[in-house]
Subunit: 330 residues, 2 copies
DNA sequence: TTGAAAGCGATACCAG
DNA sequence: CTGGTATCGCTTTCAA
């Protein structure tokens, strides 16, 4: 038999109303009784029934988080940031991994929505239309983190356009003129579009006309990196390459090694993301590091003070971290 | 205003009881009305209030999952397995990342428990005593996955003892006699104890007396691998080393490279875990691969049919995957 | 400062 | 096959 506030009230000889007030720290009550109630609660091993509380309050402090199960290795960092802030501000996170399978995705999202949620945060997710419609019809606040969706949904991410400028400028300053971009050729996601455009414009600002062939690779996978090297063959038509995710860059690095290409002597690499993965390679990857933890924190704090309008776009800072994969050429 | 079954009942001219039966597919009802109700539900954009349902049913199909935020990179795989099975059997997963910070850990666990949970699954977690007491006092079914805790809690994991035999035998067969074990010297976790004992006994079975110095390193981190190489110095007193986690083994590999030691010529490495990380290195790591997805599936299916007793220990299979980090020596 | 009582939304029992 | 109704545990208004 589970303990309820009724039991506590009974044992303490007071009403459930008082117990509730005390345990939630709302309204007025005497410190005397409070003391007793708290002790009693402990003693009896009381656990609040959150379902009942949510039901009664018609609202909760739960924020749903949708994480793609094809796990980007930075999702953890975002979650860490969110969790930290959520704890601080008294919110709860309800994390759900979503499959790529649409049917299952729908189920997951529906069951998420069947709790009273304050908001739903989507991490690095390109949601399917069907699922998206459900989300919209549920009428909860939505927020996309690390990815920009469309104009209807607020987002927190890096300034992907500017980031590409930073990277291209860095490579240009090191003498590179032929620069490829791997893993951002997908048609859809706004992030890919922004990166491509940033890349193209940055090159243009140095009077370099971009070569469409140099933008290649759709998926953010290790395999994309491996195959990129194979595709271009020897000798590589470029001296530097930008990997759109750490895992791609590691693929590039290994692909290069497998092909007998020396990094950075024969090929320079700059990676986007800058997670701990960059430390695992030799040489260590030069990276444009995104501030994922910050994104997570901002997600929660913005939801908390309700400061998001439907077209809010919030940018977090980028840190350029020189590693050992870029060389200066003549 | 949110839509409830009452609204649907009203619009359909029937009782809430009927609507409930139809929407949950329980009890008897005519297909005619069912049809209408389902349409109406869709039309009105109805979402079940799960809190109310849980409250009413005094039980839920929600399984809580505690994941350490110091993210072991195999947690994803376990979760994937759980999610898959949970979906199949109609359970929901409520995932919570827990901090190392004890205070915060307590909060997280308490808030988890304040929902009616069917069970709590702990992934690769060495829970603190305080937290553990809470968990026990809450009187939910507990289950540890990929880690064995103590005799009070059922677990699903690899047979860590046998696994070490497999690894040591493999190395022995390749001529190695001096074998180190990195990252399992922690006093506490049963897994570490089992691995040490397996390692020692396996060596003994080949008439090799183990060298206590060769068991080194507590934390399952990249840094542990890096430092292990530094600690032993050149020339290394062993010809082969076992890394207790992929990330450790990558540390060993890089540490070796940094020290001018060639793998596998001068040093052989076998790693425990065998996640995708093993594919990112050159050479690719030779691994004793744990079946994490299977662990996740078993976790759910065993919880589902309630077949766990408090000292159940379920083992999943190990797959030995030869890579490029072991050489045969004379 | 405290208590009585009316919900919150869904379920399930018992009649009909 | 369908409906009325008590119930789950907690919160909150209104009075006392």
């Amino acid at each position: 038999m589970t303990i309820t506030i009724k039991d506590i009230a009974h044992k303490a000889g007071i009403s459930t109303a008082s117990v509730s007030r005390i345990l939630t720290n709302r309204g007025r009550f005497s410190e005397d009784t409070a003391q007793r109630v708290r002790e009693l609660a402990n003693e009896l091993g009381y656990f609040k029934n959150q379902s009942a509380a949510d039901l009664s309050q018609k609202a909760s402090r739960v924020i749903g988080v949708l994480v793609p199960i094809t796990h980007t290795n930075f999702a953890d960092e975002i979650i860490k940031g969110m969790q930290h802030k959520a704890y601080e501000l008294g919110y709860e996170l309800l994390i759900a991994f979503v499959e790529t399978n649409s049917q299952q995705q729908t189920e997951t999202v529906k069951s998420l929505l069947s709790r009273q949620l304050l908001a739903v945060v989507m991490l690095a997710l390109d949601i399917e239309d069907a699922v998206f419609d459900i989300l919209k019809s549920a009428n909860v606040t939505l927020l996309s983190v690390s990815n920009q969706l469309n104009n209807d949904i607020p987002s927190i991410s890096s300034d992907n356009y500017a980031m590409m400028h930073t990277i291209v400028d860095y490579l240009y300053d090191h003498g590179h003129r032929q620069i490829a971009l791997i893993g951002s050729s997908d048609a859809d996601p706004i992030v890919a579009i922004l990166r491509r455009q940033g890349y193209i414009d940055a090159l243009a600002s140095h009077d370099i006309t971009y070569n469409p062939d140099f933008i290649w690779g759709v998926e953010m996978t290790y395999q994309t990196g491996i195959e990129a090297i194979k595709k271009f063959g020897l000798p590589l038509p470029f001296t530097a390459v930008i990997g759109s995710a750490d895992i791609i860059s590691i693929g590039l690095l290994n692909g290069a090694r497998d092909a007998g290409i020396s990094v950075p002597n024969d090929l320079s690499i700059v990676t986007v993301d800058g997670t701990e993965l960059t430390q695992l390679t030799r040489p260590v990857l030069t990276a444009a590091q995104q501030n994922f933890t910050k994104m997570g924190e901002l997600a929660i704090s913005n939801l908390a003070n309700n400061s998001l309008s439907s077209h809010s776009v919030i940018f977090t800072d980028i840190t350029f971290i020189p590693g050992g994969t870029v060389t200066t050429i003549a």
